[in-house]
Structures are given as structure tokens and as C-alpha cells.
Symmetry: C2
Subunit: 247 residues, 2 copies
Amino acid sequence: MVTPMTDVSPRTATAAGPDASDAAAPTAPARRVRRPRASTLARREEILRSAMRVFGSKGYHQGSLADVAEQVGITHAGVLHHFGSKDRLLTEVLKFRDEADVEHLEGQHIPGGLDLFRHLVRTAEINSARPGIVQAYTVLTGESVTDGHPASAWVTERFSVLRAEIAEALHEVIADRKQSGDLDADLEISDEAVDRAASSIIGVMDGLQIQWLLDPEAVDLAGATAFSIEAILASTFAGERRPRPLA
Amino acid sequence: MVTPMTDVSPRTATAAGPDASDAAAPTAPARRVRRPRASTLARREEILRSAMRVFGSKGYHQGSLADVAEQVGITHAGVLHHFGSKDRLLTEVLKFRDEADVEHLEGQHIPGGLDLFRHLVRTAEINSARPGIVQAYTVLTGESVTDGHPASAWVTERFSVLRAEIAEALHEVIADRKQSGDLDADLEISDEAVDRAASSIIGVMDGLQIQWLLDPEAVDLAGATAFSIEAILASTFAGERRPRPLA
DNA sequence: TTTCTCTTACTAACGAGTAAGTAATGGTGC
DNA sequence: GCACCATTACTTACTCGTTAGTAAGAGAAA
């Protein structure tokens, strides 16, 4: 049995683990540091990629371990050997995605200020050529609002971080513009207004993705994203003086 | 057995139905018009409401017929007696929702022009007091982008209609404003721009709902919705002269 | 008496997780 | 450089729970 699920960090206190044995092994001399081999890591990455595809196209609940395993050419028990449980596999997929994102941005500074918003628009442009990824993200996000979903904490955290990053970038831009005189230095732009804008930008991106996935002909993902972000930025910069067509 | 699943319209050619029998009934004299009793209709409505709750909180795939049945105090076979299959139940739920929506707006004219946008904002305000409904809508919408989901056609159609309604209202407002002089009569606002705005408004509403469901403290659903819609409207009305902070 | 609603009881399929065994691999002692 | 052995990476074969759907009959209603 054994079922490693190597948490990189050796000897984690995974109480739930099926092997409570060997805890009191009589002679534990050289504390073997069991580092995973390269081929194992490669295999796991294969499985993670497969899981991303499966959960992306069918959702977490509907996608089975057998589906994931099939794409790698093993059985579902083989997948469990590496990841222990389906929930665990999901969290590993999410962690993997995060790490891949970070790696992708490696070297090139994480954009701040106006560049962050350009980066978001650029992301939408890139995304409109890869519906698979977008679907994975959208399905998982939608599913995560169901009661007790294993990904809801991750998604919530992700949104929280994103909102904070966007809000910070907005504050930066506002400060810059006030200094350069592009913006009236006396203009009051409240934190609440900035937070509203941040939520709205994320929201419009996600919402457009849903529509675009269902009907790519009918929705210009990149165009609408760019337009909305600019609209939201413009209104935010206008502060209390922004036009209020509904008032 | 029999399993009626009365499609209101009697004698629909539901080929898929489990009873292909009685098709060539030898003596069919008085063509009994089998209208469902009131108590039956009431029961079905109970089931539909229960299904809305279940599919809303757990999703379609994860919500079981037993869950639906339990809330009505019958067994899952009882539900199948009325609706034949789970897929059928879902489509009936969606149809029911549509009818309920229409009924709700009955009498009061369907808002057009700027009133439509006020109505959308008002809806967001109302929604922020009923997370259950919002969750149902969000879960179903998210799930519908998975491959072969039974609700994807319905959701796609719904988005399509919504976009068209919003685009029409926008065109109205633009025409009005040009006539009243609020808008330069020479200003060009392309159909594409209007469509982009329509998609964006729907998108921001849906996207904000997801964030709000996951973290109601962190997101001001009504406020952000109102802000975004005004921002999008303002940018649309500005046409080619709109500010382009990212350019 | 016929129709309708609903139950009980079942089937067949599927899915996650467990147990145990097997073949390969690679490090260790020599 | 080789034999040995522990570990790893699986597989097969299950268990157990869950689920949609079916069949047939019971009781009530019209």
C-alpha cells in the first residue's frame, strides 16, 4: 500500500493518511530522505495536466479519476497512488496552476500600475485562442459556489488576492496622475470606489468568458474586455464628477 | 407504470417516452382528454421548486433526485413518475423559471430605454438579499459550459435574448439623446460598440455575483453593479471620443 | 371501474477508495 | 561491478456507497 502522496516536505503529520502504522517503528536509524525521482515528477505532472483537462471539460464532480487516468495510460488506482484522493488531486492541480502562472511571469516583473490593466487585456486576447483553459477556469469557478465544494477556499482566496492587486495598481495610477497633473490633486477617490472598480474588472472578465464559451461568435471576448476595463478606469478616474446616466 | 409526464399539450409525439405502447390502440373512441387535476399540478410545482433549490445549491450533476424528492416528502421514483427523467426535470425547471419571470412582470410593461438599466440595477439590489436564487443561477450557468450539459442550449439562448434586449434599449437611449441634443447627432456609435456594451453589462453582473457569493463581505454587489453599468453606459455614449486610459 | 399517484423493491452502472501483489528500479554494501 | 533489498509504480480485484431508471402493485380518487 504505502500510498506516498509525497508532500515534498517529508514527515508531514497527515493524520488522515491510511498508514498510521510505522509510527512507532522500533529501529528508525538513517531517516531516509526519500526524494522523488525525476520520472515520478514527470508522471505526476502528466496526471496534473490530464486532470486539468478533465476537470476543465467536465467539471470536478462529473470528471472521474478513470477519465484522468485514461489520458495518462494508467488505471484510476494509479492516480490514487500518486495523489491519495480526488480532493487532493484537485488541490494539487490548483497549486500547480498557480506555480505555472508564477513561472510564466518569472523574470519579467509583475506588472503594476497601468501595465497591470494592459496585462489583463492582453490575457483576454491570449485567452480567446485557448478555450480549453478558459473553460477549466470557468467551470471550476462556477462549481465552487456550491455548498462545501473543495475548491471554494482556493477560488475565494484567488479572487481576494486579485482584487487587492488590482486595487493597489489603481491607487498607484491615481497617485501618479495626481502628481503629473493629469488628475486634479483635490479629487477624492475613496477606497470603496477603488474596491468597486477592482471587483467590477474581475467580474466583467469572468462574465464575458462565460458568454464567450457558450457562443464565441456572438461575443468579442478581447474587444469587450478591453472596452469594459477602459470604461471602468475612466469612471473611476472621474471620481465624484463621473457621469451618472441613471441618476 | 404509464409515467404520464403530461406535456400540457396532450398527445405530443414524445418518441423517447418509455411507452411506445397504446400507439395503435384498436378502439380509441372518446379520446379521453386527460386533463391533470389541480392537486397534481400543485404537486408538480412543489417538485419544481424543490428541484430549483437542490440544483441551485448542489448543481445539477451533484444534486440527486432523492434530494429533490425528500423535500416534497416522496421518493425519487415519485419524482420520476411526474417528470420521466432527470434531464426532463431540469428542462421543466428552466421553463418554469421563465414562466414565473414573465408572470412576475405581467401587467407592468417590460422596461425599455434607460429604465431597463435601472431595472438591472434594481435587480442586483434585490438579489443581494436572496443569495439562494443567485446561487442557483450562477451554479447552473457555470455548469452549462461543460461539454454536453443539458442546460447549455437554454443558457445560451437566454444570454442571446438578454444581449439583444439590452442592445435594443441602448439604441433607443442613443436615439433619444441625439434627438434631445444631449448627444451630438453626428456622433457615430457602431452596432459593434453597442453589442460590446451589452455583453459587458451582462458579464459584469454575472461575474460580480460569483465573487459576492464566495465572499459577501468583500464585494458590494449592488454598488459595484450600479457603478459598472453607469461606467459602461457613459463610455458607450462618448462614442469614439471616449477616454482611452490604456491607449 | 378506471385512472392516477406514489411506494417498494429492484437493477445496472459507476465512482472513490482499499488491499494485496508484482515487476522494475536504483541505491547500498561489498 | 555485482548482488541484494527496499522502495516505487503501478495493476487487478475487490468493497461500499450512490444514482438513475424500471417494474409492479397498493390505495385513493373521480
